[in-house]
Amino acid sequence: MNLFGPSLLVSIPGSQLEALTLPGSLFEWRDLRDAVLAPELRTALNLLVQEAVARRTALRFVARPEIFTHGASRAWLDARLGDTSDHLALTDGHTLRTIPGLRNHVFFYARGLARPEAALRRLLGVAPELLTGMASQVNGALAVRLCGRSIRPPAVMLRFASAPVGEPGLRVPFALPVRDADRAGKACAEAAVEAPDAPPSGRPLHYVPLSEAALADDAFTAALAGLVQRCALANGPECLLLGLPALEGEDAGPAQAIAAVLRALAATGATLPRARSWGVRFATATPDAGELAGGRITLHPTTDFWRFAPTLFEAAQEIRIAGGGSLASFRALFSGWLGREVTSTRLRPSATGCAA
């Protein structure tokens, strides 16, 4: 399915438009580029714009596409569409607006965030027919059953050409010095150092990017807790690098993200190290591909893997998918995106390690 023709109409969730000053219902990327946006939406837009530039596709954005379904408003839009025949709806899971008469595509960009995930499940439960009209989905494996048929729009794979430029981020040693996760998170965050200043691991790195949804998966957190126990030991098998989850809300900083991880791990009942250990460390930003040379990456099936540059996965010796639910669709999607087969491990609540 060719999403990138001569031009593409794109819509973003209405909730993101409230704070924007737009020139009209149709607007350009430059009107959006430097506005305050949800971080996940910005990443998705950056990916989309990069691909559009590479394919010489002209992007135009439409505000509130639901207005343009029929009548005078639709005639107004048609008069301005020109050769545009495709509409990509970037959705946060709460709504999915299509434009009749155009080929509609969907990009659910907020995977891993608990509320958007739940909202999307609810939306597709109430209105599964929304997916039937979709010509494709970007980096997704959304599927519904309707009248006994499984409906899964074909996936369009988009990848970043290179890792985005950003600060190297912070590294924080793991510790659960007190039972209260909020206090523990704050205490941990105080020990943060710039990534280049962190003590060398001296062991192969095992990177596990976390998400809110991954932390809500009991089997995954139980396995992760077991891994934390082993890696925190001085002679642990590897250095565990936990990518801090993105949390919804402007006030969510590293301390809150660490607290969310500690809370989920503590809920497994596992005994976790009270003293600081650099054998397990938190990362506020994606590590460099060079750091992962010879290491491992474990992904939960709710990971929005497409935000990483493929070079990160190419550097790792082993990539594994682990989670408590069905992994087949994510594995097929991710393997297709990556261009090579990836192993997966379906975890049971009693599992004791991601490597199990």
Partner: protein
């Protein structure tokens, strides 16, 4: 690679165009325009802002030039003119077919406002930094989000950030909720800045704090 172009001659007596070195995007090129007899017609810096150059991502949009000609432009019609980088002498563009546009000379600088409006080292509109996304992102990559927020406050508001603002903007920047340029816009939209707008240094100013 050095690139340049003479777009037009104007009836007001100027040659307009752009020039930059993609290998050294922070460097401001000095250019010379030569006539058919190798006589120098104009000399100057390519450090003015132009929106179309920002859109094309040519040196952050700050590489236009407007050079005063030493000869009547009407007499140069149909003659081969050569644009060269002053230091190396490399030819950037040559043409015998430059258009002559009806455009008056610069206004006389009869007031402080008029002088400022023609000073390329002063930013007249923060939107003129819209092409500096890569430059600002490079600053964040080199110095970190915290330092960028501090520098942005000093640049726009001429003061240090209070603790709450510093933490809030750091979070937004690290999380990707706002771009570095978007953060400058946020600060410029504050009541504090709008009540007492300041003259800000442009990328044409050697003291531009975000330069590499």
């Amino acid at each position: 690679m050095m690139r340049g172009h003479v777009d037009t001659l104007t009836t007001g007596g100027f040659a307009e165009g752009w020039a930059f070195d993609s290998a050294e995007p922070d460097r401001i090129l000095t250019v010379r325009l030569f006539g058919p007899e190798e006589e120098e017609l104009a000399l100057g810096l390519a450090h003015l802002y132009r929106a179309d150059l920002a859109e094309a991502r040519y040196r952050h949009g700050w590489c236009a030039f407007r050079l005063r000609l030493s000869r009547d432009p009407a007499g140069l019609s149909g003659q081969r003119l050569s644009l060269r980088e002053a230091e190396s002498g490399n030819e950037l563009h040559a043409s015998a077919d430059l258009p002559l546009r009806e455009r008056p000379a610069l206004d006389l600088c009869a007031s402080v406002e008029a002088v400022i409006s023609q000073d390329p080292t002063v930013l007249r509109n923060l939107q003129h930094l819209c092409g500096c996304g890569d430059l600002l992102a490079g600053f964040v990559a080199r110095h970190g989000a915290a330092e960028f927020v501090r520098t942005a406050h000093a640049y726009v508001l001429a003061r240090t950030a209070d603790g709450a603002s510093q933490a809030r903007y750091e979070r937004m920047l690290r999380g990707g909720a706002v771009t570095p340029f978007g953060l400058l816009l946020l600060l410029a939209e504050t009541e504090e800045f709008r009540a007492q707008p300041r003259l800000l240094a442009s990328p044409a100013d050697p003291g531009f704090v975000f330069a590499g």
